[in-house]
Subunit: 350 residues, 4 copies
């Protein structure tokens, strides 16, 4: 609905031109002139990895006109409204390295687990011990909660995040945590390895723009009733603003069915894998919302092709500050990890 | 919304009393009198397997009052609005034997495959050869199509079904086919092994009632926008009308998302397995509606706990009379069968 | 999704040719040959009013080729998938006369009121007296209820309908009642003035086909999660099967919102009025499902352009056999009738 | 889902105690002690109008215990999860004065009209002339657009708002405009009469919190797939943060139906009027999204009980910078205004 480029006519053609890092100003100017002469409007996109020219126009043209010019690494034509995140121009899948040999999208299964809310030092240490014991490298947890109000549990805030970070770093654990507003980015950026954009913020374009300027990976959750196209547009926003280290997360959608908290849309997984080069993560905890059924949905998501799974676990789910009804205890979590890996291994051997 | 019992007050209690086959009229009368004295209204349900008394009332009572009476095999209390199909009184899962050692719900994975529409003898023979070659025992296919009109392909009708039956029986293949109206039951009953109730007929109560009187298994598909509760009520109708050989089928629901034909609700699988003792089948062909993604959704459904999978395959999907865009060719089908079995084996070994 | 014509290519053109009643076989044959020579496939549609040839093809052609032939009243081109019900070829709105100067779609407001279920003679007489006192000419009521089961209130059946008919005829009251299966048509046809097709039967194509052969008006309710396009297709089925006396009814759709029983889609009213020449009726009782809010939704529907309103009223809603929570008492009903008429008058004077 | 109070047990009781402005610290302390002695947790809410104590607890108590204490204006018990916005404790409807005899919720019909986007001085002047000529006092318009990106029309921003403000003030026109992020509040606050919270921000709790601290009215639009309950919770957030000058806006929800842009849920109007004392506004432009049908839906909304209508109009819709397909021209707008007023007059005379 809101692609980050101006689209005012029915049929548009797009070219994505990746520039060489060694390009000279004169070469770039020559390319821009040629594009303009074709009646195309050009936007320069500078990400932390590359520089692109995104050209949008109406007339067909001979791609060789540009292909022979100096300073160009690659040139593609894309028909999707989302462009930079489309697999049509970038067939190679995006890999996101978090350092310390933790990489998402490299053909391994990325497991991210932890509590809904970070509560205190003991809880952090218990969770880290559980993850380390199971070989899991990424811990999830909220330090700002959307239910925050002057009267309810707000989350531990940045101080909690710093404590978590210091404990996690000792154990080689990476951190994914939700950022809820632009003003939190600066205070979080040094203490998270992945920024999570929640389902209520999928179309918070200011937040997406600002995350485009940050040199940290971002995981965008699908909106509560968001389409896959809107999710891809949201990713396009962040990419076009400069950040290529992106992943998408299916977490269930709102439907008329009330037997589960949300309707986990596992169709989204193969469809997104086809449409975009970005890694696709599944969140079965929110996708079904019922503790005893998190495992079958997590395993199904792996079988459907997910690059990773994020779920909620807690030493004592009944006492969790939030989301206890969909949180696994550590024994259930250990079983799930083992079964997800076996499932993933089977899938990779097909 | 429409349980097949009268429910007129907010809080009702239900007892399900399974009678011994050797019960005497006097014993039965004594039981009924006792139930009536408790202020309960009784409905006698005679299925092809057993006789039950379903009592509905408002007051708590001491179950031992009845438990000591003669002629009773078992007595249960149920709080769900669907009663006879609830797992709360019948923990043992329903097994449905089709003869010739083909059984659904016995802990094996039931695979049902075939074309959307039965087209001609050659197509039937090709499909049977494909199934036999892969060890699949149940063939699906439509002989009456809901798109039927005086101007469109109607399906081959009963004559096509008879031809199919004669070819299938030679090869030990069982038949599942959709029945669309009461008047078709009699002409189909001798030539099908499972009656399928389609998504547009899930709440066709007349059809459900009549299928309750038939001694053939019935598979009920979830309505196009049906809740799981409504699906269970529909099964309750058939059960209460006399037919216990029932299975349920998740085939995707209608949502706002248009990237897929329907939204496959895999949450339904573990939830239904928890709520009912009936087998649960998945239909990934309709659930996602896109040929290249049928496999991952089928495998995901197996991993989520399905007792079986029904999908569309055709020698030449591009030439299929209907649903070609979601139909696998035989090579894709063979691969899928092999992978579903490996997935099922992994699941069963957890 | 299922138009009653075969549609196998992406872009089709349709011509609707209305024939003169005096056409000779030779003239008709000549027309058919000409259509065939254009590569068009022709279907002859005989309704109780007219004979049409519906031609479907791919190539543009000069309409004058046919326009000059003998035996043709009118010829139109239609691009919608629903054709005979489209306003694109028939701009004049359909009027449906029930006799005794009761006409639907003639620019008056048609009010249809009565109980959910016909219960007994006293109830029928009370309701008739209420309607007559308010100048309302059409009474609604169910004699077969979809919740019917051996154990629940089934409705009074055909005997109840006959009783109702004899009482209604004495007072000049017309009858609309739901038909739920093909086998009921014959027994109902002499005692109803309008057959109602319920929301669970909107895509029961067998029922629609049979109603196409009957010389009584039919009101088709939108499916529980039916699109407007599907509703128009359903009407096309009945029309193509021979019955032009059709009206459509918006009765609310299933959404995620639970504050009301359904989500009344009043957008449907102006949209349907634009797309089809058939009268459009609103059912606020089911559309919101809460007694105290039936009035504002009924008035809103009139303001949105409805040709009529159907709603539930009962002498004593608390004691109604069904749907009491959305049923008006007679005082509320009288107020509503008066206000709907004033609203309609205002609208007509714009 | 996220009420702005901590709710941790199933059944809670709430008391809302409105304090006298003349209350002494000692009196307040005594009240708080009494509440605490009942096991209730108290939150003090200071709005720009009043001070409230919101007490939440589990045990029943005798309200007279508190009613006799000094410093209390009024005391109520509320069972809804949304409390301060509930009509259960405040039956008097909220009136919001914008000055210059423009009041919303006072029993008049509030009309708010103008373009989707503020474009330039000429457009502002044309629109103001149109509104003044029709006696409309409130002008809508966007200066920040959610589609904003470095490459698309962003809106004129604060400079455009200042220009608009200076022109509007000369003509006695009030301004409603959307605020999209916390950082915009300060720069907008002196130039708007009503802050609009858009459908993508309904659950942007940070934004809601900050708007609670501002002394300007706020109109909250229902979320794209938001429930009425969530809309009321969002209002509760703003109210609890200090701002009582609130109104709600129904603007259509996302459903499976594609014949209209959204599904206008007019059920929401009488339901919200029953549940809350806040004014309820309808937005037919977004609710149906098709220019020619805006009028019938606007009139229907008035008939359903709306306190006001907000819609899009432009001198030349075809040239509007955004939303032209749902924007009325001035002639259509003048007609609509006249008809809405007649409809409103009829409704008020019932």
């Amino acid at each position: 609905m809101f692609p980050p480029y101006e689209v005012t006519v029915a049929y548009k053609l797009t070219m994505i031109i990746q520039l060489q890092s060694s390009i000279t100003p004169a070469e770039k100017e020559a390319i821009c002139k040629t594009i303009a002469s074709l009646g195309y409007k050009t936007t320069e996109v500078n990400t932390q990895r590359h520089t692109y020219l995104v050209g949008i126009g109406k007339k067909e043209f001979d791609i060789r006109l540009l292909g022979q010019m100096k300073g160009i690494t690659d040139i593609h034509r894309v028909s999707d409204d989302y462009k930079l995140v489309s697999r049509k121009w970038k067939v190679d899948r995006t890999r996101i390295s978090l350092g310390d040999e933790v990489t998402i999208g490299d053909g391994s299964l990325s497991i991210m687990a932890g509590p809904c809310s970070i509560e205190n030092e003991a809880q952090i240490e218990q969770t880290i011990a559980h993850l380390v014991g199971n070989g899991v490298r990424i811990m999830r947890g909220g330090v700002f909660k959307p239910r925050s109000s002057p009267y309810a549990f707000r989350g531990l805030g940045v101080e909690g995040l710093k404590l978590w970070y210091s404990l996690a770093r000792k154990s080689g654990i990476k951190i994914i945590s939700e950022v809820m507003q632009v003003s939190q980015i600066a205070s979080m950026v040094d203490y998270v390895d992945i920024f999570q954009v929640g389902a209520r913020n999928t179309q918070n374009f200011n937040l997406l723009d600002e995350l485009g300027k940050v040199d940290k990976p971002v995981m965008i959750k699908r909106g509560i009733s968001g389409t896959l196209e809107e999710l891809l547009y949201s990713a396009e926003y962040v990419f076009a603003a400069g950040n290529e280290k992106l992943m998408l997360c299916e977490r269930g959608i709102r439907t008329y069915e009330r037997a589960s908290r949300n309707t986990m849309d596992l169709n989204a997984i193969p469809i997104l894998k086809e449409k975009t080069h970005l890694p696709v993560i599944a969140d079965p905890s929110h996708g079904i919302g019922i503790r005893e059924f998190v495992e079958p949905i997590a395993l199904a998501a792996v079988m459907a092709g997910a690059d990773g799974v994020i779920y909620e676990t807690h030493l004592n789910p009944e006492e969790a500050a939030s989301d206890g009804q969909q949180t696994l205890d550590f024994e259930e979590s250990s079983n799930l990890i083992s079964r997800m890996r076996k499932t993933f291994e089977l899938r990779e051997n097909f």
